[in-house]
């Protein structure tokens, strides 16, 4: 299976190259790839249909236990076949749709990348290889949605999709890690065996995070808003990503994990509620839209909601129904999207108000649309019918949640019927005096794929036992774990309550269709509500976030050096004082009580000199005097060093101080006249900061002195200085021998400083201002 994934990745990255080589005919290899994958996957069919599964493992990042583990059971194979089969048709369709687009090569890159990621996702047996593919789908769909990159709305929509699904992805990551921790394994097939996770204390956070991931991906309320916006993408993308594959990734994961996570109240009610709300809301919003793609997008949301509701019901029947409906939906929605694209391509518009009676001009497309519409409406010989029947059955099975599930299914179903009539009938067959003008008839590449899909919907409906039943049976089995379960798909159940409900749904749908124009008129009045919708909240949220962060950063990083320094110093002092308070080291103040006990007079004089110098420095306004006084303070420090047995340090200090003064003097006459600047307004604040800092340092210094220990280094150097290092001046021996490396570093610092100074003085911005 890794070869499927690898082949996908390699081919996708070859796409731009192939485009350069083959020009428009790049589609040939790109169509052949999914076809080959499809065939290859079919070769697994016998095994899987026999109730076995295929498992493969390749070492990847073994130290984190993230390996490329693949697992092909019924569910995975079902999805994989769906993805690759659809992929073949979409690749073909894309050729027809984007025929002479200059970036066709890149388009195929993204699309194939996406398909491969999706395949990897459903086949993964390791939750993190699954996650890797999951994120890859987000990224590639981002690139696909933003494919018309010169368009601003296209860019923002893509961005929105990425942020929403990416955010969900991060939540999912957290959830999966918790899942891994709770189950002590990353291998899905191992984890799923563990039944006790529901009572684990990590269950709830893991569940919430994983649900967040799935809901964002599958466009559940309140994260649904990115999907209609994503209709900015070229239609092949919408047909592929937003009807059949990417949005189903969330559904897939929910289904996959339902044996492990399902069963708890939280799971059931969250899914029912979120799914229900999404289904109803999507259906209602679909009624108000006039753009064909938008209508289809909202019905997709609704259908996704329905699927989630079914998973929430968590009964075997519901899960079976979910799978059947998923297949049916994929078939008809894919068709309809492609149809919409073909119509758009030929007429240049997607507004339903402007489109009438296209049937004669584009017959194949019309036939496909009708087939799909009939399936969507849930009419008798189609797979859509079977799907809806099963949904009703499942909804009515559980008395506790009967009403909710039923209502959701009913509302969504009727709207689907209505929309189906609109798209499958009115656009093509309605008798109108002025049928919309068609610029050019769609080519074979534009109508063959939808036609094929539409027919498939019919074929699966007519002979469900032929293909759909066995694979769906195994798929359902992988979710429920019940091997005895026998999924029976039959077209005709006899005259039951469910059939009646089906008919009722249809009726209501037609009624809705009748009043659709009024609903459309009514739509602008509802605009006000959208102000509070999630989409607007998203945009306002982003804007507000940017605004407030700009303000916050503008305040924090305000450009004033002194406020930076003050913040740092206060942090430092605060932390030091807090640590002192926390550790309470002993400070024997008594020892210091007689401050002057063993102080010599000359020492006091030097200290007074220093302090006086400092005070003088604070007050003087002359530059020259301040330099000289500063030099004096430095000299006094040097005197201290002499007094306390450090002649080398003292000499160095003296010389350095002299040099500093010299450098100052050399520069001084180049500086502009000294202007006096006071601390404006904040003087006392800064005095406060300085005093705190000085006090902290004094405090620390007092502590340190009291707790000083004798150093073994001193003794060692005292012993070894002459005998081993042949020098009597221990300080010098340390500098050139014991710790010579320090000195090497030190002179390097000096050398760099000199080079820097030269560069700074010689290289003027007039000469070298170029960046």
């Amino acid at each position: 299976m890794i070869f499927i994934v690898l082949a996908g990745f390699i081919t996708s990255f070859l796409a731009p190259l192939l485009y350069r080589l083959l020009g428009r005919y790049v589609y040939v290899p790109m169509v052949l790839l999914p076809l080959a994958i499809f065939v290859c996957l079919c070769s697994f069919l016998p095994e899987v249909l026999a109730g076995q599964y295929v498992q493969q493992e390749y070492v990847w990042v073994s130290s984190l236990n993230i390996n490329l583990q693949f697992y092909l059971d019924g569910l995975a194979l079902f999805f994989a076949l769906l993805i690759s089969g659809f992929g073949t048709l979409v690749m073909l369709y894309a050729k027809g749709y984007l025929d002479d687009h200059p970036l066709l090569g890149r388009f195929y890159l993204y699309l194939t990348l996406f398909m491969t990621a999706m395949l990897g996702l459903v086949m993964s047996d390791n939750i993190f290889s699954l996650f890797v593919f999951w994120e890859l789908t987000s990224i590639s769909s981002y690139l696909l949605i933003g494919f018309k990159h010169k368009n601003e709305t296209s860019r923002t929509s893509a961005w929105q999709a990425l942020l929403v699904t990416g955010g969900g992805g991060l939540a999912l990551m957290g959830g999966l890690i918790l899942l891994g921790i709770g189950n002590n394994s990353y291998t899905l097939s191992d984890i799923l065996v563990n039944n006790g996770f529901i009572s684990h204390n990590l269950y709830l956070p893991a569940l919430i995070l994983i649900l967040l991931g799935c809901f964002t991906k599958s466009a559940q309320f309140p994260f649904h808003f990115w999907l209609p916006n994503a209709m900015e993408a070229p239609t092949p993308v919408s047909a592929y990503l937003h009807s059949a594959t990417m949005v189903k990734a969330g559904i897939y994961l929910l289904a996959r994990l339902s044996p492990l996570l399902g069963g708890s109240e939280v799971w059931q009610y969250t899914l029912l509620l979120v799914g229900g709300v999404t289904a109803v809301m999507g259906a209602l919003l679909a009624l108000q839209k006039t753009d064909v793609k938008a209508i289809l997008a909202y019905t997709t949301i609704s259908a996704l909601g329905l699927l989630v509701t079914m998973i929430g019901l968590n009964s075997e029947l519901a899960l079976e129904g979910m799978l059947v409906f998923l297949l049916a939906h994929a078939l008809y929605k894919g068709t309809l999207f492609m149809v919409a694209g073909a119509v758009d391509h030929s007429t240049g518009t997607r507004e339903v108000q402007e489109l009438y009676g296209l049937g004669r001009q584009m017959k194949p497309v019309a036939i496909a649309a009708t087939l799909a519409g009939l399936s969507m409406a849930g009419l008798l010989p189609f797979l859509g019918f079977i799907g809806k029947e099963l949904l009703y059955e499942a909804a009515l099975e559980d008395p506790a949640k009967e009403l909710l599930a039923f209502a959701v299914t009913f509302i969504a179903g009727s709207v689907f019927a209505c929309i189906a009539t609109l798209v499958g009938y009115r656009l093509f067959w309605s008798k109108s005096t002025n049928s919309s003008p068609v610029k050019h008839a769609p080519g074979a590449m534009l109508y063959l794929p939808p036609l094929l899909l539409g027919t498939a919907g019919l074929a699966f409906g007519l002979w469900p036992e032929l293909l759909a039943t066995p694979i769906l049976h195994r798929a359902a089995q992988s979710i429920t774990g019940n091997t005895e379960l026998l999924l029976e798909l039959t077209l005709w159940h006899g005259f039951t309550l469910v059939l009646g409900l089906s008919l009722l749904t249809l009726l209501v749908g037609l009624l809705l269709y009748r009043f659709l124009p009024r609903l459309h008129q009514f739509a602008p009045a509802l605009e006000a509500i959208y102000t509070y919708g999630p989409n607007n909240l998203y945009h306002k949220g982003i804007a507000g976030f940017l605004n407030s962060s700009r303000k916050f950063i503008g305040w924090l990083q305000n450009g004033y050096l002194r406020s930076y320094v003050a913040t740092i110093v206060l942090t430092f002092s605060g932390l030091v004082l807090y640590t002192t308070f926390r550790n309470k080291p002993e400070l024997a103040l008594a020892e210091y009580a007689s401050l002057l006990k063993n102080t010599e007079l000359y020492e006091i004089i030097i200290m007074i000199l220093m302090v006086a110098g400092l005070i003088f420095l604070m007050n003087t306004r002359s530059r020259l005097t301040s330099i000289v006084v500063m030099g004096l303070v430095g000299y006094s420090a040097a005197l201290f060093y002499i007094l306390f047995g450090a002649p080398d340090v003292a000499a160095t200090q003296l010389l350095i101080e002299t040099l500093t003064v010299v450098i100052f003097v050399l520069l001084l006459h180049k500086l502009p006249a000294f202007t006096y600047l006071s601390h404006v307004g904040h003087k006392y604040k800064y005095i406060f900061v300085s005093v705190i800092f000085g006090a902290t340092m004094t405090y620390v210094l007092l502590f340190t002195q009291q707790h000083a220990v004798g150093s073994p280094l001193k003794d060692y150097y005292g012993q070894a200085s002459y005998l081993e290092a042949h020098g009597r001046n221990i300080v010098n021996v340390i500098l050139v021998d014991f710790r010579g490396l320090d000195t090497l570093g030190e002179i390097t610092v000096l050398a760099i400083a000199a080079l820097g100074i030269v560069g700074l003085l010689r290289l003027n911005p007039e000469k070298g201002g170029k960046r």
Binding site: P647, L655, L659, V662, N729, G740, A751, A754
Partner: protein, 180 residues
């Protein structure tokens, strides 16, 4: 500051300071002093000279070597030519007028070269021991003794490097600043 007496006095004192700075360098291992202080003292002498006389004058006096050159006459072997070349440069004050000097150019001892040399000496003094399969900067003390120095071990070499480098750096900084 540019009084003649001061500038002349400083000019005369500068070489003295250099000798003193080398003395400080050499005694550093056993008494207060060392490469760093020595280098600083030596540099400060030049710095004062710069302050008093200007950097051009300092550079010209102390860091420039005038070299006279003459093309090789035919019939003279290379050895003879170079001997003549050296003699010519040593006795240049006396003979400059008499020799038919073809070219005269200046070798400037730029402070950057001093820096590079100093850094190089310091580093190489450490590297010697690496080549002897010992840790970096392991001191090597040769057996022989030099009258003033005692045994000239690698730490002294290191100190010399520091001395040169410090001198080079200070001169570089001060000359650049003075040029501004």
């Amino acid at each position: 500051m540019k009084t003649i007496i001061l500038s002349t006095a400083i000019r005369l004192l500068t070489p003295l300071f250099q000798v003193f700075s080398i003395y400080i360098l050499l005694r550093g291992h056993n008494h207060p002093g060392g490469g760093f202080i020595g280098g600083l003292i030596g540099a400060i002498a030049f710095v004062f000279d710069t302050l008093a006389n200007g950097h051009e004058s300092t550079e010209k006096t102390f860091f420039t070597l005038k070299v006279y050159q003459q093309p090789r006459k035919s019939g003279i072997s290379y050895l003879q030519h170079y001997l003549q070349f050296i003699r010519m440069n040593i006795q240049r004050k006396k003979e400059a007028g008499q020799l038919d000097v073809q070219q005269q150019y200046c070798i400037q001892l730029r402070p950057v070269y001093l820096m590079a040399l100093g850094l190089f000496i310091a580093t190489i003094s450490g590297t010697i021991s690496l080549l002897l399969q010992q840790p970096f900067m392991t001191s090597q003390w040769p057996e022989f003794h030099i009258p003033v120095l005692g045994s000239p071990g690698t730490p002294l070499l290191f100190d010399l490097g520091v001395y040169l480098l410090v001198m080079g750096i200070i001169l570089k900084i001060v000359f650049t600043l003075a040029k501004e």
